[in-house]
Amino acid sequence: MTTLIDDVVAARAPWSGIVPGGATITITDLRGNQAVDCLLYDAHDHAERYCAHTTMAAQRNIFLTTGSVLRSNEGRPLLEIVADTCGRHDTIGGACSQESNTLRYGHHTKHQHACVENFLFEGAKWGLGKRDLVSNINWFMNVPVEPDGTMGIVDGISAPGLHVTCRAERAVLVLISNCPQINNPCNGFDPTPISVVVSGP
């Protein structure tokens, strides 16, 4: 395997890159309990993109882990998780935004940095805009659902050095927000850096 990209993404920062078909992307939670919000697009047709709901329905389970196939809105595979030392990842919790922060925590959070800010800024480099943001993956984030339907972001199960590796089924544009949230436990109330490595076949 050839290393194509080897980046450390600073706390609170966005990242994007192309994972060629057959290549892998490994995301490492360097310091532990750092949520990594992630969206996927077919590199050649951005209208075909990750669909959390198609992915969950196809595997009949809300949690992502080794063996999960991350599918597009047309039901086709984009990535497959081939290694996961954390155990499970979320895809129902969505991305934090300034707007949803005002609902969840109060209007004092209106000007705090948020994942949707990262997605809009980084996505614009690829011609992506507001209409292109959909339900995302939250690597290393812990969101249980109780029998009565109560759900919420709770203390993480990740730890320093845990990582997840996905193999691209075709060329995929990966858009990441290294989550800046400080009002819930998704980052242990302390956003930290992550590592992103893309390796060619």
Binding site: C51, T54, E74, L103, G129, L133
Partner: protein
């Protein structure tokens, strides 16, 4: 799909007048899936709703779709007439269509996966698109969204939009296109009348099908909204046959949630979602476009 007529006798449409007579002779044909026009002639209305208040009345048979613009303050009732409908619903803010229903924010902000009476359907801009003000079904899904053509090819052997088993995704792409919106505008959709539960291991389970007929869900819109609906079997409905019974859509004029309505104070998150919605309406009033 129901065909409304059979072909005329040979030669009957060989002239323009013959073809015109044949076309006009169809005008009294009735099928299950069709709109009521004028809407004021709709029947089986709630007691408090007068004929002049009706904004939209339409039945969607199996596989059919519709889209409609409804004003702030209107109520839309979905009725599962025979117990086996599945309404896949997309909502877009009519003033700003890049703002749309967010399933992630709807569930996360309200700390609840299973929407019912009292739940809000929130946009991705922190505002209330609609409130669920009545629900006699209780079987709804925020997890699986609209099935696509690939799903239907695997389940039914055919998923073409022009075929017998069209997918909800393809139907909604066309529904949105009629409002000038494209595939990028089709975000994850909510479904009514087919419930999905999450097990402790994260596994998904569809509620037993079919349900009893005649249940309904009512949405009250808090912003002008483009509503797009496809009546298509649920993704987790594993019956071999494409099974979907008629869905009625009936909307009428009403008023937005008032300042003293307890709905606003049902939770701190709801209170702030209404504050954000009110704030948008202030801007609309200042712009002279009416509140």
């Amino acid at each position: 799909m129901v065909s409304g007529h059979t072909g005329p006798p040979a030669g009957a449409t060989s002239t323009t007048t013959g073809a015109r007579d044949h076309a006009r002779a169809q005008s009294d044909a009735r099928v299950r899936g069709m709109p009521t026009l004028p809407a004021s002639t709709a029947v089986d209305l709630p007691d408090a709703v007068g004929p002049a208040d009706v904004l939209w009345d339409e039945i969607l048979d199996s596989g059919e779709y519709a889209s409609h613009r409804l004003p702030r303050g209107s109520v839309l009732r979905f009725t599962d007439l025979d117990g086996d409908a599945c309404a896949h619903v997309a909502l877009h803010h009519a003033d700003l269509p890049s703002e749309r229903l967010s399933l992630a924010d709807t569930t996360k902000v309200q700390w609840q996966m299973y929407p019912t009476r009292g739940s809000l359907l929130l946009s991705d801009r922190g505002r209330v698109l609609a409130a669920i003000i009545a629900d006699t079904s209780g079987r709804h899904d925020t997890i699986c969204s609209a099935p696509n053509r690939t799903d239907h090819e695997a389940k039914y052997g055919d998923g073409r939009v022009e075929g017998p088993f069209p997918s909800a995704r393809d139907r909604l792409i066309v529904a949105l296109a009629k409002f000038g919106l494209g595939p990028r505008d089709l975000a994850p959709t909510i479904s009514f009348f087919k419930g999905v539960r999450v097990g402790t291991d994260g596994g998904l389970l569809l509620d037993p099908v079919p349900a009893g007929g005649g249940t309904s869900v009512e949405l009250r819109f808090e912003l002008d909204t483009i509503v797009s609906v496809a009546n298509v079997p649920h993704t987790l409905d594993l019956r071999d046959r494409y099974t979907c019974t008629p869905l009625r859509l009936c909307a009428w004029r009403s008023t937005p949630t008032g300042l003293d309505d307890p709905q606003r104070d049902s939770s701190p998150e709801a209170r702030r979602a209404y504050l954000n919605t009110d704030d948008w309406m202030l801007g609309r009033t200042r712009a002279g476009t009416g509140a």
